[in-house]
Amino acid sequence: MVDILLLIVITISIIANILIFILYKKQREISEYFKRSLQEKKLRHDTVITEKITLGKQQLEAVFDAITDMICAIDKDFNIVRANKSYASYSKLSVQALPGKKCFEVFFKRKTPCSDCPAKISFTSQKPIFKHQKKIKINDKTEYFLITTYPVNDSLGKTINVIEHIRHNTEEKMILEQLIRSEKLATIGTMTAGIAHELLNPLSGISGTAGNMIQMPEKYGLNDKGIARITSIIESANRAGSIVKDLLHLSRKEEGTSIITNANEIVIKAIDAVRMKDIPPIEFKMSLEDNLPKIICDPGKIQQVFINLLTNAIQSIEAKKQIYEQANKSYSGVILIATHQSKGNVQIDISDNGIGIDDSIKDKIFEPFFTTRSPGEGVGLGLSICQKIIEEHEGKIFFESKETFTTFSVVLPSYSKKEVREVLG
């Protein structure tokens, strides 16, 4: 009986052991399984995150490069750490070639850092600098920039990089200046019209009274000396009168004097007009397009513009001729006149190989009272009147001064009867 009991106990214990072993094994297997699956899961998770990070980086880089403003990060020694495509293309280098280069060298073409560098301030103050205005001459061209700098700090709070955000606003600046200029012109215009007419009244009285005195000296008890003095009064009054007339021309808005005509005819007439004056031998080369669309304009005014431009060209040639004669060099003046269509507009180019226009006065030549001539030769209203007239015609006037030739171009909208009808309703 004991044996049977012992056997049962042994059997049970064996079975229990086996069971325990099996259970243990199973448990190991299960834990292994969980461990493995956890690892796999982690691995998968990591891959996804890496992928996400890569994608995010790519997206950010694309955004970074897509920004048309120029952006770069620099370190304390002005070395570029990173820059976007706009920055690279302005510097005429590839994005990859930029890191390590000095920002002032590649961007501003300088040998030393700019004295007013806003990034330097951001490094020391650890604060951003907003919209710092920068005007710089690069290759003889004045360029304007708006620079904003942001410091980038490490975990210890030390500024390791500065991000520079640079906006190229030369064009905006130019447009703004142009606006201010035309605003000024408009104000001057309104003022002058009133002043000029008011001046004409007494001037007419002065010159008329003086004229009577010269014509009928005995009526006024005038002797020869008196006549001589009155003559000089008349001359002064007439000079003042002609300036007043110029001013009126500049300011007067003459509406509705438009007719439909061919620009070539006006150009030819202007050339004839300047040729009638005593001018030095100058070769006039003409290339006028035959089938030019007609323009709607005030031919008298447009002719005045061409005469003005041609006169300037002749004077420029005369000036150069003098210089060459003094240096015993040979030179012959040429004026090229060309008309052609461009994008539904009519363009007239008047070029000369005279002395050209100095860079320093380029942005002043359309200003009223700006002149390079000596006093008495002109008050400097010519080109400002031209600009005014062309603007009235909704056209454009601009110039380009290259090595040998200076070209003034006038662009006028071409006419179609339909448009006029629509405008007039």
Partner: protein, 298 residues
């Protein structure tokens, strides 16, 4: 002797005008409209010349009032301001002569206009020229075929003798076309000839041209027999062109262009008898840029 009243608030202007005109006429001056009206009550004036901008009543208003009170009195305006801006006002006041205050003052022109207004002697290029006037030639157009040749003959004469033509070719073209095609009409006023058609004018119709010059200017006159223009129509057409409404008009463009592209345009009308258009250019630019209005109707 004719009597003239000059109204201007600017002392130098009214005395200057008086000093000159009193050599030929009886002249009185007034500083403002009220003074002028008071003077008119005491004395009859054949002509009143008034400034436009004066303190108190303005020139056009004054002249309208004078016309109402004394219908026989002739009127003219004088101004230093832009005449184009006052054409509407002038038309409403029945004024068709606006003299510019130029510097130097143009006394010859003043005399021609004043004398024309007083005497009614308005026709002929010669009377607007100085004593040293030289007549280059006279032409008569009887058919549309002759128009171009006559125009070219005049242009050639100017070019060869004087070396300048201004915009004469352009405006002669317009004015001759008007004279041939637009001026002749049937009794009921409808147009007689179609533009650009071949036309032979009837015996009593003709277009007569004269050109010549003096020491300071040259000019061309175009006379057409009959003609339907009135000063009212001319002023209306000029006004319409100036404010841009008439840009596509056929009639009116010729007159407007002539005024625009010559230094002086004078239109003389003897109703139903003849119409004369005179265009003149000065050799120097001292009187250029002012655009007076000189329209005389008998």
């Amino acid at each position: 002797m004719y009597s003239i009243l000059i109204v201007d608030d600017e002392f130098s202007i009214r005395t200057m005008l008086m000093d000159y005109l009193e050599e030929f006429y009886e002249v009185e001056v007034a500083e403002n409209a009220q003074e002028a009206l008071n003077l008119c009550k005491k004395k009859y004036f054949n002509l009143v010349i008034s400034d436009i901008n004066m303190p108190g009543m303005k020139g056009p208003e004054l002249l309208l009032e004078i016309k109402r009170l004394y219908p026989e009195t002739r009127t003219a305006l004088i101004t230093a301001y832009n005449i184009d801006d006052y054409i509407n006002l002038a038309r409403k006041s029945g004024v068709s002569n606006i003299i510019p205050k130029t510097s130097p003052f143009n006394f010859k022109e003043l005399f021609d206009i004043v004398d024309g207004l007083l005497t009614g002697n308005i026709f002929g290029l010669r009377r607007y020229m100085n004593d040293n006037y030289i007549n280059f030639g006279e032409f008569c157009i009887k058919s549309s075929k002759e128009a171009k040749d006559v125009r070219e003959a005049i242009v050639t004469l100017l070019k060869e003798r004087l070396g300048v033509i201004g915009d004469m070719r352009l405006i002669l073209d317009e004015i001759i076309t008007n004279a041939i095609y637009h001026a002749p009409a049937f009794e009921d006023g409808t147009k007689k000839y179609e533009e650009f058609s071949d036309v032979v004018l009837e015996p009593q119709e003709y277009v007569y041209l004269e050109c010549g010059y003096d020491s300071e200017k040259y000019g061309v006159s175009v006379v057409d027999k009959m003609g339907r223009l009135t000063k009212e129509i001319v002023l209306y057409k000029i006004e319409r062109q100036i404010n841009g409404k008439g840009i596509l008009d056929d009639s009116g463009r010729g007159i407007h262009m002539s005024r625009l592209f010559s230094d002086r345009l004078i239109i003389n009308i003897a109703p139903k008898i003849k119409t004369e258009v005179i265009m003149m250019n000065y050799f120097t630019n001292k009187y250029r840029g002012y655009k007076p209005v000189y329209i005389n109707e008998l």
